[in-house]
């Protein structure tokens, strides 16, 4: 058993956050001076081969982050909801795969969510200063008050993870429970996992634990068992142990060779200046548009979404009307 992370101390000093803005190594659309010494790099290791798909991680994520996901429908899979959303930062994806070598069925269950890339495509793609940051321990976090909802982070993400909220037009994804990590705890999903399919520690510890697991898998005939820590994004702070590490994509489309889109990579080059010029033009055009057409109006749909977000129902309408009407036929 991987040694469990002790419960937090009740001493108020222990609740003091251990990292802050001074620990940033990257900040979207900003120049910063990284700290002289990085915090110890952390990682979450998801051992797909020990996962029983119980969704305790999904449940813990919703509860710790106080998220309200909609009650969906059954569409013929165990994957509920059917995709990541602005409220579901993590999702168990179920794949029925017949191994062509053995002709045996394998039910592959992968916990999907942010990989916390060492070289984060979302952050590189983000045009809004400080909307995406990376701490020196490797965690990539979204700072929602700086988010402009452009969705570039989704384009920049090699794993298709962030989702923009229809209510507040801001992008959301797994924070690796940076609030918990900051006080010496592991992420909520790890804490809830009954079989230690999710473990958390330093990146080095996780690699060592993965080796131990991979040896066991090889002894059981999984010759290609291995660690998923893709070099295309300089490694990740969420890693997988896979029985078939030679074929990541069988696990509900986990990219075989993830890398940041070349368009995002060139963003930092010449495109950036061309883009800035275009943006300057757009601001000017917008100002002229404002002078001619007047300010934007808040649409009723925006209003309803905002109300749902704040949980306040105005008189004369119920907040859930919009959703129910949209789904029930």
């Amino acid at each position: 058993m991987f040694p469990p992370i002790p419960n937090p101390s009740v001493d108020p000093a222990a609740a003091k956050a251990r990292f802050s803005d001074a620990d940033l190594i990257r900040r979207s659309a900003s120049e910063i001076t990284p700290p002289a010494q990085r915090l110890t790099e952390v990682a979450k290791l998801i051992d797909v081969t020990k996962c029983i798909g119980c969704k305790a991680c999904q449940s813990a994520c919703l509860e710790w982050n106080n998220l309200h996901e909609e009650i969906g429908i059954s569409d013929g899979t165990y994957t509920n909801p059917p995709d990541l959303t602005e409220n579901s930062f993590t999702l168990m994806r179920f794949t029925e795969w017949v191994n062509p070598e053995t002709e045996n069925l394998e039910w592959l269950i992968r916990k999907d969510g942010c990989m916390h890339c060492e070289d984060p495509g979302c952050l590189k793609a983000c045009p809004s200063p400080g909307a995406i940051v990376q701490y020196s321990n490797g965690i990539v976090d979204f700072i929602h008050e700086n988010c402009i909802g452009c969705g570039y982070c989704i384009k920049g993400c090699p794993f298709n993870i962030p989702r923009v909220s229809k209510a507040d037009h801001r992008a959301y994804k797994c924070t690796l429970c940076s609030d918990r990590i900051a006080v010496g705890q592991g992420p909520a999903c790890q804490k809830a996992c009954p079989t230690q399919a999710i473990v958390f520690g330093t990146k080095e510890e996780m690699k060592g634990w993965a080796d131990f697991r991979i040896k066991d898998l090889k002894s059981r005939g999984y010759a290609n068992a291995g660690l998923y820590d893709p070099p295309g994004v300089s490694g990740t702070h969420v890693m997988y142990v896979l029985h078939h590490a030679d074929k990541p994509s069988i696990y509900a489309g986990l990219p075989d060779h993830p890398r940041i889109s070349p368009i995002v990579e060139t963003w930092k080059g010449v495109t950036k200046y061309v883009g800035l010029a275009a943006m300057g033009f757009a601001v000017a055009a917008g100002f002229i548009h404002h002078l001619i057409a007047g300010p934007n109006r808040v649409s009723p749909e925006d209003e309803a979404n905002a109300e749902r977000l704040t949980g306040v129902a105005p008189s004369g309408s119920t907040p859930s009307d919009g959703h129910e009407a949209g789904r029930t036929t």
């Binding site: 305790a56 429908i73 013929g76 079989t195 697991r213």
Partner: protein, 813 residues
């Protein structure tokens, strides 16, 4: 469980059959992953579906639901044929050598003594030959053709790999691979653990399914050892506590029996409970029955229970039928023989078979009282919810009272887990609104009743007005007070017979162990097996020291395990006949020349010499039983019977439908589909999903998100045949009812071939209803047949027949 959850980490092979531990017991399943990761243990799953447990298994073999006995007897046959037997264990610790009466035989699916009209056996020939010395006759050479071993060998010989394939549909190569892996555990240094649950119990021969595996474990020498055992994974939190406390119509706490009508007085009742040893020197621990019983009576009626009034024996109810189980209760309700039903923490409209019958029955009641923390379908059975509950409130006269109770997280007390650990818990929150603890509600009812009896008298006031009610606040007994009473206490001083100035027991003190209980009225104990849980040293259930010397997984200082804080039952059998561990690397206890000691509390008298006293101390034989004598209604060996609704004829006994001694009520018989019925061609089974807990969690938003809507699972082959699309609606119907659900078309279910016939399996999760946060849906009991196990009446939820078609879904108005 004979062992503990934490002990599963000690195993070499986990067999999950008759259950789906990863799905239904995800937290306990961690010990399987520990065994795999640290010991290199293997996991076998045998199930009609490729389950979540199968997804992390080393080997999976499919089986048709309801054919487990044929499979298990097939494995036993394989072990016998291939000499994969732990011989030293079998010879010393089982009744293999016991000689059986000449009259006993098995032929054409029936044992000797069958009476077709009574659907029952005369079991008198199912017993040992008793010698002139009064003991059972044994033949240690196993040469006697009438000894248990030879009868067993003959009994299982029909279950060849070919026969297993014909009955179970398990491909022969897969069956043989399972046999091979299992048979390796006949080694003294390899153990296998059996993890099972409702997948074995919910059959008309459920008890025999479990016996089948227990026999196999005995043959492999895997009972009483670390990493072995028969491990029942209980389906409800604290359902173990429910049975321990005798919350069944035929039991009183601690597995003592409610008297029957024929047992008119205490002497008659005790006359069949002598438990005289069947072999020399054996402990036959039930010889202490009278001590447990009298102490129970004293806990119930205190001073009013005296030697003169037979310890108030006459105040106990007497059974006129074998049991008033849930199926009989609803049958009586439907027939207008029951007026008032107290429904405490139970949702029978969802949990008992044949919903239409249940709704009709509830409508015949005068008063229905619901005690529950949640809104339940049963409480709302009278409300119209369209197709989901087509009730007509204007036609129902039943008055329903709902008394809101606290939920487990809002009150204090103990829960007994599958491993028999009594774990104390403290409230995590305050109860909402007017909710009260169950004990406060029951106390309120009792005190009012007692006042009425005291004021107005009645036909039989004695048991009520004399009930011992020694609680500080009579209106709300505290959990600690109830626990202390359950543990037991000394009523009056007991002096040492050798030294009359010395007190052996002091009045008012808590008892430390059930060995101190007495049959002279000087001790009281509400549940003898719990004695030791709350002693003068305090609340042992609240202990939270997780030290575990040498990592044995015993955790003796964590909570309290009944009996006597013992973590592995029959642990004397972890040693050979000389008292040395079979596997020194997995030592549990051992004989040091003078006494038994080790990591666990020895399950034998500490000074009982190893050659004299057998490890199975509860049995008068001192050994375990491969042949159960007349103790089970449906045979001393398990025999294959088809479910009452089966897609195929019983291959080994073609004339027999279902279990020949299972009780069937007349009206229900006409509601069973014919064997191999073309009207109901598909073999259905029902089960739980990990995202939900029975019918509770659909009230919780998060659980409803994780599994929002009801579905049924079927193979790609059947979907193609019936033009059913994945995610589309289907209608499924049995001879009793019909439901709509979404189709889950999956590779995890494959058609089976049984005796040349293609059998399609349809899987039906149970969780949906017309109350709660999740989408409205139909519970599986709309479809299931009203018949139970022949011994204990657990309903046959796991195997029945249905038909299905693509549908446009339920009509919504």
């Amino acid at each position: 469980m004979t062992n503990a959850w934490t002990d599963i980490k000690n195993t070499d092979l986990v067999v999950i059959m008759g259950g789906n531990a990863a799905e239904a017991h995800p937290c306990g399943f961690k010990w399987v992953t520990e065994a795999k990761a640290n010991r290199g243990a293997k996991l076998i799953v045998v199930d009609p579906r490729y389950t979540r447990s199968a997804s992390v298994s080393d080997y999976y073999a499919p089986i048709r639901q309801g054919s487990d006995i044929a499979f298990l007897m097939g494995v036993i046959n394989y072990c016998i044929q291939n000499d994969k037997v732990q011989w030293d264990y079998v010879k010393a610790f089982t009744n293999a050598a016991y000689v059986v009466k000449d009259g006993f035989a098995y032929k054409d699916g029936l044992f000797t003594g069958y009476d077709e009209t009574k659907r029952d056996y005369d079991r008198s020939s199912w017993d040992y030959v008793i010698g002139e010395d009064g003991y059972a006759v044994v033949d240690d050479t196993l040469q006697n053709p009438r000894c248990v071993w030879n009868l067993l060998k003959e009994h299982v010989s029909v279950y060849t790999p070919e026969m297993v394939n014909r009955i179970c549909g398990t491909p022969k190569d897969k069956f043989l691979k399972v046999c091979e892996m299992v048979a390796e555990c006949s080694s003294k240094t390899k153990t296998m653990t059996s993890m099972y649950a409702l997948g074995w119990t919910q059959h008309s021969k459920g008890a025999q399914n479990i016996r089948g595996m227990a026999m196999l474990q005995l043959i492999l020498g895997n009972i009483g050892v670390r990493g072995g055992g028969m491990n029942a994974l209980r389906g409800h939190s604290n359902i173990q506590g429910l049975t321990d406390l005798g919350l069944m119509s035929n039991l009183i706490p601690g597995y003592l029996n409610i008297p029957t009508e024929k047992e008119k007085d205490f002497a008659t009742y005790m006359s069949t409970r002598g438990f005289k040893p069947l072999r020399p020197n054996q402990m036959s621990y039930w010889q202490n029955y009278k001590k447990f019983f009298v102490s129970f009576q004293k806990a119930m009626w205190g001073k009013a229970a005296t030697l003169e009034n037979d310890w108030s024996y006459s105040w106990l109810p007497k059974l006129d039928v074998p049991s008033y189980d849930i199926l009989r209760a609803f049958e009586m309700m439907k027939n207008g023989q029951m007026n008032l039903y107290f429904c405490q923490g139970f949702n029978p409209l969802q949990a008992v078979p044949n919903k239409a019958k249940l709704a009709e029955a509830l409508g015949k009641l005068k008063l229905l009282v619901i005690m529950d923390p949640l809104e339940t379908e049963t409480a709302r059975f009278w409300e119209n919810h369209g197709v989901y509950n087509p009730a007509d409130p204007s036609a129902i006269k039943t008055e329903v009272l709902q008394l809101p109770t606290t939920c487990f997280a809002e009150d204090e007390g103990s829960l007994v887990n599958s491993g028999r650990w009594l774990q104390w818990h403290w409230p995590g929150g305050s109860p909402p609104g007017e909710a009260k603890t169950d004990s406060a509600i029951m106390a309120g009812v009792f005190l009012r009743l007692r006042d009425l009896y005291a004021k107005e008298g009645g036909a039989f006031p004695d048991p009520i007005v004399n009930l011992d009610w020694r609680y500080a606040d009579p209106k709300e007994p505290k959990a600690e007070e109830l626990a202390k009473e359950m543990n037991g206490y000394v009523i009056s001083d007991v002096m040492d017979p050798a030294d009359p100035t010395k007190k052996v027991l002091e009045a008012g003190k808590q008892l430390a162990s059930f060995g101190l209980l007495r049959d002279d009225g000087t001790t009281a104990s509400g549940c003898w097996i719990f004695t030791g849980c709350f002693t003068e040293a305090g609340n042992m259930m609240a202990r939270r020291d997780n030290s575990d010397p040498d990592d044995t997984g015993m955790y003796l200082k964590w909570s309290f395990a009944w009996p006597a804080n013992r973590r592995i039952l029959y642990n004397r059998a972890s040693c050979d006949i000389d008292g040395k561990p079979w596997d020194p690397s997995r030592k549990l206890i051992e004989w040091d020349g003078a006494k038994w000691a080790g990591y666990d509390v020895p399950d034998i008298a500490p000074t009982a010499k190893p050659h004299d006293v057998g490890p199975f101390i509860m049995n008068p034989e001192g050994v375990s039983r491969l042949f159960t004598r007349g103790m089970m209604r449906d045979g001393p060996f398990p025999a294959h019977y088809e479910p009452f609704e089966s897609p195929v004829v019983n291959v080994v006994a073609p004339k027999i439908k279902g279990n020949p001694v299972a009780r069937v009520f007349k009206d229900d018989l006409s509601q069973f589909a014919e064997t191999a019925s073309p009207e109901f061609p598909y073999a259905a089974t029902s089960y739980r999903l990990t995202e939900h807990f029975h019918y509770w969690t659909k009230n919780n938003h998060v659980n409803a998100v994780l599994q929002p809507e009801s579905f049924v699972e079927l193979s790609e082959e059947l979907a193609k045949e019936k033009s059913i699309t994945n995610g589309g609606w289907v209608r499924v119907w049995s001879k009793r009812g019909s439901l709509y659900a979404k189709a889950m078309v999956t590779k995890r279910i494959r058609p089976l071939t049984c005796d040349g016939k293609t059998i399609h399996v349809v899987g039906i999760p149970i969780h949906w209803g017309f109350i709660g946060a999740a989408r409205k849906g139909f519970p599986a009991n709309v479809l299931t047949p009203f018949v139970g196990d022949a011994n204990i009446e657990t309903p046959e939820f796991k195997a029945f027949l249905v038909n299905l078609e693509a549908s446009s879904g339920p009509a919504t108005s």
